[in-house]
């Protein structure tokens, strides 16, 4: 990694990020408690409480997401999420090869981190997909379930609520996979905890 310190995470991104992390984890736990609802399982949150918490934190994470969108629209942080399609595949491939083999051979990372370019290509791609595709879908389907009267009752002979709920659950599942991988990959830094410290202090 780069030797001199870089200020990569402005304060608003840090606040957004940690709120987002807390909200998302509550949503994940309550979501699982509803999907696998079982009054006899002591590890699950009670259904009634789960519904209430999930509704409240769903709204909170949506507002927080709005902050993220607005922040990225009006600051230079938004640029970090744009990528050129040309050569994208090659860049993703190079970075993956580094994670799978290169880093064990003590090679240098193929892409340098700078203030203009704080994510490596893989991060850039995955963060953009999660934030600009995954989040809008899960928020939209979540709101539809909160106000079911706006859902088309029947789609191809299936209940509209059923389809909306399936979309919501599947994207939720994918985002929770993202979360596990995300946290793990964040331990790959100068030391295991250095990336987490960066996300707290802003300095990389």
């Amino acid at each position: 990694m780069a030797d001199e310190k870089l200020y990569l995470y402005p304060i608003w991104i840090r606040i957004w990020h940690w709120l987002n992390a807390v909200f998302f984890i509550v949503l994940l736990l309550t979501g699982i408690s509803m999907q696998y609802s079982n009054p006899d399982n002591p590890f699950l949150i009670s259904f009634e409480l789960s519904v209430q918490l999930h509704n409240i934190f769903g709204i909170l994470i949506s507002i927080n997401y709005l902050i993220f969108i607005i922040g990225n629209l009006f600051t230079s942080n938004g640029k970090q999420y744009k990528m050129k399609t040309k050569g994208l595949f090659k860049r993703l491939y190079d970075q993956s090869v580094f994670y799978l083999f290169g880093m064990f051979k003590k090679q240098d990372p193929p892409f340098d981190i700078s203030v203009e370019n704080k994510f490596n290509p893989l991060q850039r791609f995955i963060y953009s997909t999660a934030m600009y595709i995954g989040f809008p879908i899960i928020i939209a389907s979540g709101f539809a379930l909160l106000f079911p009267e706006i859902i088309i009752p029947q789609i191809f002979g299936l209940s509209g609520i059923l389809i909306t709920a399936l979309i919501h659950v599947i994207i939720g599942f994918i985002l929770s996979l993202f979360l596990f991988i995300h946290i793990y990959v964040c331990t790959i830094g100068a030391s295991i905890s250095s990336n987490f410290k960066s996300m707290i202090t802003g300095w990389h």
Binding site: S37, F47, L162, A165, F180, I181
Partner: protein, 311 residues
Amino acid sequence: MKLLKLLLVCSLFLAGILVNAQEKEANKNHSCLKCHGHTTFKYMNEDFGMEIKESMCANRMIDTLAYAQSNHGMFKCTDCHSPEYETFPHPGQLRMELMYACNDCHGGDPEYAKFHFEAIEEAFYESMHYNRSPDAFTCWSCHNPHTYKTQARVGENIIETVRYDNNICLSCHADVSKYELLTERENINILQSHDWLPNQELHFKSVRCIECHTQLSDSLLVSHVVMPRDSAIRECTSCHSANSHLMASLYRYKSLESRKGGGFLNAVILNDSYVIGANRNQYLNILSVVIFGLVLIGIFTHALIRILKRK
């Protein structure tokens, strides 16, 4: 040629008889429905020799179409009501007429054994409604004699069945004029008494009142023991869990049918609505566990190699 003509004439004649018979069938109740099927009726005032037109009060009116399509639509009015109703004004003592109960006709009839009329009657005697007003509350209070039609047993669409069955309860619980015939108690505002239930409108559309308000019954398709309010189901998980209550009631008939057809247990719920916690598609479940497992294995091996290669 002559033969052909003869045939033609004969068939026309036959068709005529058939149409006539059909008309008669439809008109068998005309003598009553000419008054009871309309908002107004006329009668002759013999004393003054003039025809008088009056309005028919709404709860004496009969929906002709719904009557024809109902379970008992083939009956003449006078099969259940006294033939003396042919005269107008109706004789006063007819008010005291004793009406048939369901089991006067259906009791012990093997043709209707699958409906378990006797067991339903016993259940009804246990119900809170009967015990609060034993004289006034009868089977007819819920089964409108002129419109009742079997629904749950034959209904294709669960939402339709829910609407039909709930409208039975709402005929009193959303209409004071019928409710107050049976009690002195102040009207119950059910929107208020259920304000603890989130998505109330959706629940009332996709789940029946009797799901929460009756005892489950193994032998009856439609449980008839409506319980007092303290015994009503309130736990969300009695529906929102893998062994959902609904599989034993609302979805029972259909799930038995679809299981026979080789479908899996959740087939019914899966198409008509989404009950959080009860809808679990086995295949999606297995798939998600496998994917999740692979991701975890990936992370662990990566971490392991990192530890081994450290130094």
